[in-house]
Every structure is written in C-alpha cells, then in structure tokens.
C-alpha cells in the first residue's frame, strides 16, 4: 500500500473517469411528458397540459423508477428529465429522488413556472449535481407571453427563478431568437449575468427543428419563425468573430466528409432517449419507426447493447444525400442528421435544405467557401478546413 492519494476527483462531464471500459450507457434522456403548460411558438413537442389522452398513456411512476434502476445497472451516471414540462407530473419529486438515490446526476429541463417552495427546497437539500436548465423567453411580459402563449407565464417563471436562487440551486437560463424576442439578446444576457444562482451565460436557440411528431400545421408554424443563414451569422457575430473562428476549427477537427453512415453525431453508448410512453429512441427528436424500440416488449439492456448498435450501422440510400451530404466537408457545421431529416421529410436520409443553407452561410463567413460554391463539390474542402484550423 503505497499510494498517497486515495481518491481521484473527476470533473463534471466524466472525461477521464473510465480507466478501462466505459459503461454501456453514459446518459439517459427521459421525456416524462409531452404535455406543457406553455404553448411556445417554436416548440417541436408540446401537447396541452390537460391532454387527458396523452396523460393516460404516460408511463406511471413505478415504470420510470424501474427503468432508472436498469440505467444505473448499465453504468449510467446522468439522467436528463425533460418534456413537455416535466414538473407537470405530480410524481416528479418521487422520480427525481429515486434517480438521485441511485447515484444518478439529474439534468432538469424546465420552464420554471411550476417550481414551488417545496421543490426548490428539495433541489437545495438533494442537489441535482447539474445546473437546472430553464427555458425563458423575452425580457417583458408581452414578448415572453407572445412566445409561450400562456397568460401569467412570465411572472410564474420569474417567481420560479427566484425560488431557485433563494435556495442556492444553480441554474442556467436559455433564450430563443424569435419574432417577439428579436433584438433582446444583449438585454437578456445582461439580465442573466446578474441573476443570483445563475451558473453560466445563457444559450440561445436560433435554428429551430420542425415538429418532431410531424404535425404539418405545427411544422408550418415553426418554419415561418426560422432565421436564415445570414441572420444566424449576424447573430453569432454580435459580440465579435470568436464564433466564426470556432466554425473553422470545428470543420478542421471533424475530419472531412461524413460519408454514408447516418448516425455519427453521438459516440457509441453515449446516450439514449425514452419518450413518455416507454419508447426508446436514439435521440429525443428522432421518431422514425425504424429508430424506435418499445421498452414494453424488451429491455433497456437489449436496446442499448443490441438495438442501438445495429441502428448505428445504418447507411444512407437517398441519392441526393449520397451526392451531397456524404461528400460535404462541412460536417462540423451542418446540423443535418436523421432527426432533422425525420422532422422535415419523414425519412432518415433526405438532405434538409434549411440546415444546408445555414451551414453554407457559416462556411462563407468563416472563409471556407466562396459565394456560390457548394461544399460537396469542393475537392479540397478538408484541406481548406485544416488550413483554416492551422491559421494559414
């Protein structure tokens, strides 16, 4: 016995924790409900809070608790509890406490409107070990409720934030660039920086996915809210060119074209998602039937060790994808993925023009493409990205 340091602290994020084999599942995302007490313009999920049919189909407490136990048994360290609005579930505290008693860290995604003094105290006494992530839109009641379409939500969210702050529960706030909130980003950042309990700068959603349940009317509404590529570039540059420099860096690091393998966005065993009805998915947004595993007819272990690895072998067949996306060197920028393709087209591998356009606008801003160039037709794309990364 010679070691002088008996314990090893590992920073949040778990990088470097595993000296030998990584666990079979690092993170589990759980969508406790699709229901929400807000009806945000851009939401790709929400059903009304009072949707009795959805509520009746949601898994009960015990099923979630059993699943959490199975996840812990697979080595899972982090569970994300999201929705819809997860605090709509009357059993949220029971599910949360069960996760924490299993030694899971909890990422809670909420709009904060339903935070109660009791919940804030619970999060203080049994901390989630991850900052609570709070979506909050707009700096005024008018702009916020023009997004949420829920009267009273502005005041309720501010009250919830106050309760978390009073109890010393770390949180981060997340905004969105939408017609009612455009032009408020600087004010939002300044406000967030002054919040007691705020654990970091706010993130902004600027590029929106269409409705992941493929509701055509909802998707049309979301499409009408989208910022174009040039607007995204302008927003990203509002504090300088740091973001643009990072885009070049991403492209250089990503290592060139993605090829025909579709599932490249997450490392093996990184995570899995489960919807409110016990259907496991590769990620929260991907509901293509080929990418869904019914946990009621199987097990989390089988899903993670057999179903997801098979899914990761899926290759593109769409000719347009093979002609464009598979050969494109903007892999580090473009959001193209099976979930986006599913929301836009109902397939896994159809190119999404919207994200393609945004990536091209970013690449032009980063000096990786000239105006009018198509990234998939550029023969020295990977070299360009490497040169950009090396600063030459």
């Amino acid at each position: 016995m010679t070691a002088k340091s008996f314990v090893r602290k590992v920073p949040s994020g778990m990088s470097g924790l595993w000296r030998a084999t990584a666990p079979k599942l690092a993170r589990l995302d759980i969508e406790l409900t699709e229901r929400c007490n807000c009806a945000c313009l851009h939401c790709s999920v929400a059903r009304p809070a009072g949707d009795a049919e959805a509520k009746a189909r949601e898994w009960p407490t015990e099923r979630w608790q059993t699943l959490l136990g199975e996840a812990a048994g697979l080595g899972c360290l982090v569970v994300r509890l999201t929705g819809g609005e997860p605090l709509l579930r009357s059993d949220f505290e029971a599910i949360y406490l069960h996760a924490r008693k299993l030694g899971l860290r909890v990422m809670l995604f909420t709009n904060a409107t339903l935070v109660t003094p009791r919940l804030a105290r619970l999060l203080r006494d049994v901390p989630p070990l991850e900052a609570v992530e709070i979506s909050i839109y707009g700096m005024t009641r008018e702009s916020c409720e023009a997004v949420t379409r829920a009267p009273g939500s502005f005041a309720a969210a501010r009250r919830g934030l106050g309760l978390l702050a009073e109890n010393g529960v770390p949180f981060v706030v997340k905004g969105a660039v939408l017609p009612p909130t455009r032009g408020q980003a600087d004010e939002f950042e300044a406000w967030a920086a002054g919040l007691s309990g705020n654990a970091g700068p706010p993130a902004f959603a600027v590029l929106f996915d269409l409705h992941s349940r493929r509701d055509a009317a909802r998707s049309a509404g979301i499409a009408g809210l989208r910022s174009g590529g040039d607007e995204f570039v302008r927003f990203s540059r509002r504090h300088g060119d740091e973001a643009v420099g990072e885009w070049g860096e991403f492209c250089g690091r990503a290592g060139g074209a993605r090829g025909d393998r579709l599932f490249i966005c997450l490392p093996a065993a990184a995570s899995a998602s489960v919807d409110p009805y016990g259907r496991l998915q590769y990620c929260l947004g991907l509901r293509h039937p080929a990418a869904v595993y019914d946990l009621a007819a199987g097990s989390l272990r089988e899903a993670v060790t057999e179903f997801l690895p098979r899914l990761r072998e899926t290759r593109a067949a769409d000719p347009a994808y093979l002609e464009r996306c598979a050969r494109c060197f903007l892999r580090g920028l473009c959001a193209q993925c099976p979930a986006k393709s599913w929301a836009e087209h109902g397939t896994l591998d159809t190119p999404v023009e919207y994200f393609c356009g945004v990536a091209h606008a970013q690449a032009i801003a980063a000096g990786l493409l000239g105006p009018g160039e198509k990234a998939w037709a550029v023969r020295d794309g990977a070299e360009r990205a490497k040169r950009r990364r090396n600063g030459s």
């Binding site: 008996f6 590992v10 049994v126």
Partner: protein, 101 residues
C-alpha cells in the same frame, strides 16, 4: 465535519453519499448538499482506497482494518496504518463516512 478519527472506532459509509461500482471503478456520488466540495465532481478511489473502503462497513474498529490489511500487504511497519488513517480521515472530513454509533 471536522474531528480526528480514532483506531478504536468503527466507521461506515455515510447515508449522504451513494456508492456505485461501475465497470470496475468505485464511484462516490454525493446525495445531499454540502458533501465536501464535490457538488460538481465525482470521486473515484484508487487501489489502496478500494481495499480500505471495502472494509469500512461499520462492523470492526479501524485497528482491525489495519491488521487485516497488514496481513495482506508487505509494507514497511506502520505504513499501512498511516495509509488507512489518512484515507479514512480524508473521507470523514468530506462527510462520506461516519462513525458507527
């Protein structure tokens, strides 16, 4: 929590932490607030720590833990005791173990 640990006393894991074994690693996860400075970190044990931890079940005084380990490890006289006391003191200060009442 402060205080000096004693060889004559027994210690056990605190109810304020969750101890997990994942792929051969012992991982200690805080459950309640105020466990050392670990609210943004996880903690794992090295080989020495694991050997000691496995015996901190509250069933025997620390002196018995030292004696067991001395019979298993060929260390210079007194070295095992120093290691055990150092380890247990560290975890005790972090509120990860408590004295068996």
């Amino acid at each position: 929590m402060t205080g000096k640990i004693e060889l004559g006393r027994a210690y056990r894991p605190s109810d304020d932490v969750v101890v997990r074994e994942i792929e051969g690693e012992i991982v200690i996860v805080p459950l309640t607030s105020g466990i050392g400075d670990l609210e943004d970190e996880l903690l794992t044990l090295n080989e020495t720590g694991r050997a000691i931890w496995a015996r901190l079940d509250g069933s025997r005084p620390l002196a018995a833990v030292v004696a067991e380990l001395e019979s298993e490890y060929e260390d210079a006289e007194g070295e095992v005791r120093v290691d055990v006391v150092g380890f247990v003191q560290e975890l005790y200060d972090r509120r990860m173990i408590v004295e068996k009442s």
